[in-house]
């Protein structure tokens, strides 16, 4: 593992700070999810499996944020960052059925064309992915300069 500071005396303290930061970030994200979910509860009764799908997404996303935060300052942080972006892209494609969202509610079939949302969301995720890759390249370059 490539680290910023190899001083062993600071390692437990630094790790504690990282864990604390990861916990705070995770809790903050969960609070945001919890508040947003209050506005979406009415849809949960209409769209079957919505709550489960959102919970899985939030669970995986928070886990990757926490792991990414704990590995901050190492090259693995960027691996998890890339994993996070790829997860968002693939999850959106699968959950939105490739851009056409269909559901049945009380004998009424509803079809919503969310191609535009999917395209913009994927573009944003790809920008995020590119940014993470750039950060990783910058990180490795810095290390090379130090060596």
């Amino acid at each position: 593992m490539v680290e910023d500071d190899n001083s062993s005396a600071f390692k437990p303290r630094k790790l504690m700070v990282k864990v604390l930061k990861a916990t705070v970030k995770g809790v903050m994200f969960f609070v945001v999810y919890y508040v947003c979910w209050q506005f979406l509860t009415s849809f949960a009764t209409i769209i079957p499996g919505l709550q489960q799908a959102v919970q899985i997404f939030v669970g995986v996303y928070i886990s990757l944020i926490i792991v990414g935060e704990i590995t901050a300052g190492t090259i693995y942080q960027y691996f998890f960052g890339v994993a996070n972006d790829l997860f968002v892209i693939s999850y959106l494609i699968f959950s939105l059925n490739g851009g056409t969202f269909s559901m049945m509610y009380q004998n009424v079939g509803l079809q919503v064309d969310v191609h535009l949302f999917l395209i913009i969301a994927m573009m944003l995720s790809f920008v995020g992915l590119s940014k993470t890759i750039l950060q990783a390249i910058g990180f490795v370059s810095k290390k090379a300069e130090i060596v």
């Binding site: 009424v108 079939g109 079809q111 064309d113 944003l124 920008v127 940014k131």
Partner: protein
């Protein structure tokens, strides 16, 4: 490199917030769209066709205007064949606006009853397929479809010709009185002429009679048709051919044997 990265992070976060906000509010707009149906009305066109008018009120209580609102109603028979369909397009429904439309479906009752003769005397259920298409916030196409059934009431339900009553007119002819009864289960009045032709067992036309009928919707009708028949041509068995000519349709011949 940190500052540009942070700027990209910030820009991405702002874009995500806008994107999610827009689509969340668009979803709420679909939820707050009110669609109310009035009682269907039946009218007639100048070329004698029947028009079923369905009043629909659309209330846009959402956050965005609705464009290209297309409302299509299709009535199908039991075999899936299309009996009639109507379509109405509203270019734009602004935020907070209430729009009332009348979805007209032209129905050629005459050809419908000619091709589906069982509808004359049998009540049944017809399928109604409703399709609604719209574009919310100018970028999200939404399509909804639903099925329902509507009761078809037969205009000549339980049509019966009672036992003919015979009375002498003169030495050569008899008067034959044929009592007719049926229940008009339809949602329209049956007003017109009933014609009866009487054939003997050798398929010879032996009598013809006409009568005016006036059967209000959802009511029982009792009437009779009188025929003058030559005594020599009457046989023990034979058939009556019954035709109804109404303002909405003609029934075509219905064959009812006697004897």
């Amino acid at each position: 490199m940190d500052v540009p990265i942070k700027m990209i992070d910030f820009a991405i976060a702002v874009c995500w917030i806008f994107l999610i906000m827009f689509f969340a509010t668009a979803a709420y707009s679909v939820k707050d769209l009110g669609l109310n149906f009035g009682n269907p009305r039946i009218g007639r066109t100048t070329d004698g066709k029947t028009v079923v008018s369905l009043p629909v009120t659309i209330t846009n209580n959402g956050y965005y205007s609705i464009d290209s609102f297309n409302f299509t109603t299709k009535v199908q028979g039991n075999d899936g064949s299309t009996i009639t369909e109507g379509s109405t397009l509203i270019p734009t429904i602004g935020v907070g606006n209430k729009v009332s439309i009348i979805d007209n479906m032209t129905l050629d009752l005459d050809s419908l009853l000619q091709s589906n003769r069982e509808l004359l005397s049998n009540d049944t259920q017809l399928n109604i397929v409703e399709n609604v298409g719209m574009v919310i916030g100018e970028v999200i196409p939404v399509h909804a479809s639903g099925n329902a059934t509507v009761h078809w009431g037969a205009p000549f339900y339980n049509l019966k010709l009672e036992e003919p009553q015979y009375s002498m007119l003169n030495y050569t002819h008899m008067k034959v009185i044929v009592p007719i009864s049926f229940d008009n289960h339809a949602s329209f009045d049956v007003i017109g002429e009933a014609e009866i032709r009487m054939y003997n067992s050798t398929n010879q036309l032996i009598g013809f009679g006409q009568s005016t009928i006036d059967a209000l919707q959802q009511s029982h009708y009792d009437g009779r048709v009188e025929l003058d028949v030559g005594i020599s041509s009457i046989t023990q068995t034979g058939r009556f051919e019954l035709d109804f000519q109404t303002s909405l349709f003609s029934s075509g011949s219905m064959v009812i044997p006697y004897g």
